[in-house]
Point group: C2
Chain length 326, copies 2
């Protein structure tokens, strides 16, 4: 009953129960139900964010909710799964009022409509510390159609969706860097930081095409490293082929080190995958159909580890990019 | 990479990856896989706990882990589901070292063996505030065999497993109350507070027997209230029939108000269910077979709300028990 106003039960009834799907049983039972479908498997992931670490306490609550949801949907897409349901835990300080929670739930409602998902359950507790928000997302994929990190093979091409480094630049702008960029570009980059676009349409369409896939959260280079490690292969990325927004390309023309930084920055929530050479046409057709850029940025090789090369094909040391191995 | 020592990735690899089941993919992919089984449905629940609110920062980490897991397994049992998997989020302050995390994971390992479950995934983040731990549990029940809160019917008997109020007394003892109780009884009551025993065997066995069920977490009276509200019925409990440990019975002989307090105290994690009169023999046989007391404590009636009656059949006002309506 902490937090004043409606209290825990009141908030659940007022703000969260309307988000519940049929399996959520109006959030009034001890647990939720998800019927099995023949030939399918459920795909489950969980991510947590902390106020002051992953978002700023005065960020718009609807955007906080939607980003939390979307980073989880991105994980589902990276397995080739379609999003279906989610569960939510909120640990909130007493200073957070009903108004914040209402806006937070409003953000969830908006993305539920957008992605065709529903709430199955949750828990809300009080904390004396910063807010901690944890979301479990559940998707669905046909048995055998999942795409893991471990399937990359020498000779595969490396592909990435969208553009890379936007979130890094958006955060930099929020912190006061790049004041000379036009307002429109600044807004677009900040948006990319605050509201990633999980590639939920593409992910499941890559079943039978991609050999290995994940979503870029730690940074393109680190995440390609995860694929290489799990697949026991090496990978080379050409920095000049990195898909960048025009704003990023313009900044890079004055700062040749920038593409390397963007390749290691993280929080992109784009899909990074490998596929055999003969899949290239299929991938380009998918790109056109979905209106989503998908760019070939390198190749998988025998060996281990990730190499970056510049326009001349010369290796760029990772140290120069500020990259730290995890 | 916060928290010193092994860091986030190191802790996952060292302490949590060994807990992963086959569907957890060694915690190295973006999400976990759970294949569907024909005729089954998955049952999902989530609960979170906060240091200083739900447990004390210097409580043994293995017991903290096991209680967090068990309160979730109790929710699954209350739906009639068998526990299968779980996911875990930890938001930990930097002061918590690898040693604490190792013991915490050790507690999970112990209960995994006990309950035949495995870890599917998780997330670990850093917080400047108290630790927040959130666990999502996944169980399985045949389609149609789930037991909800809303099925109670007038004429049903009300049953509860185990004993009631032990956790309340255990916490009171930890806070210095009841110093004259024998050490053995004090230890047993504290144990009941620190390590509830979810009724995972009984829950699924009540399919087709119980009309409505939940687990007692808010307090027997409040939770019976939840059943009554969801089922649109009323319920009467006889305080003299409340199942109490000998220690509680002894304390109650000196404090006639105590049974009323115990009936509203909460954190029991016993199963509370209603069943038709003609199921009584089946229930008693289950009780014998499982070596688990199951006690008839009252009846479901037409109407609304929960009534407590004393030995003389006279109603005891809820106000006298310290009960607050949620």
């Amino acid at each position: 009953m902490k937090g004043g106003g409606l209290g825990e039960f009141g908030r659940i009834r007022r703000f969260f129960a309307p988000l519940a799907g049929p399996g959520g049983l109006a959030l009034r039972d001890d647990a939720a139900l998800i019927p099995c479908k023949a030939g399918q498997q459920f795909v489950v992931t969980v991510d947590a964010i902390v106020a002051g670490v992953h978002y700023l306490p005065d960020d718009p609550p609807d955007l906080v909710a939607r980003k939390l949801l979307r980073v989880n949907l991105s994980d589902l897409a990276a397995m080739g799964a379609r999003p279906r349901h989610y569960l939510l835990t909120t640990a909130l300080p007493a200073a957070i009022g009903d108004d914040w929670v209402e806006k937070f739930a409003g953000g969830l409602a908006e993305d539920q409509r957008l992605y065709g998902i529903d709430l199955l359950g949750g828990d809300s507790v009080a904390t004396d510390g910063p807010a901690v928000l944890s979301l479990t997302a559940i998707g669905e994929v046909a048995i055998g159609a999942e795409i893991r990190r471990s399937g990359a093979r020498p000779g595969d091409q490396i592909w990435v969706t969208g553009t890379i480094g936007d979130a890094f630049l958006g955060l930099a702008i929020l912190r006061g860097t790049y004041p000379s960029l036009p307002a429109e570009q600044r807004t677009a980059l900040i948006r990319r930081f605050q509201l990633p676009e999980p590639r939920v349409e593409l992910g499941p369409r890559l079943a039978g095409i991609a050999h290995a896939m994940l979503d870029v959260s730690d940074g393109l280079v680190a995440d390609l490293g995860h694929i290489c490690e799990a697949s026991q292969v090496g990978g080379t990325i050409s920095l000049t082929q990195l898909p960048l927004l025009p704003a990023a390309r313009q900044l890079a023309s004055a700062d040749p080190d920038l593409p390397g930084h963007l390749a290691t920055a993280g929080d992109d929530y784009e899909l990074l995958f490998t596929a055999p050479l003969n899949a290239a046409d299929q991938i380009r057709r998918l790109s056109q159909e979905l209106g989503l850029p998908i760019t070939a940025i390198g190749n998988v090789e025998k060996g281990a580890g990730v190499r970056l090369v510049n326009a001349a094909g010369k290796e760029v040391s990772l140290a120069e990019t500020g990259y730290r191995h995890f």
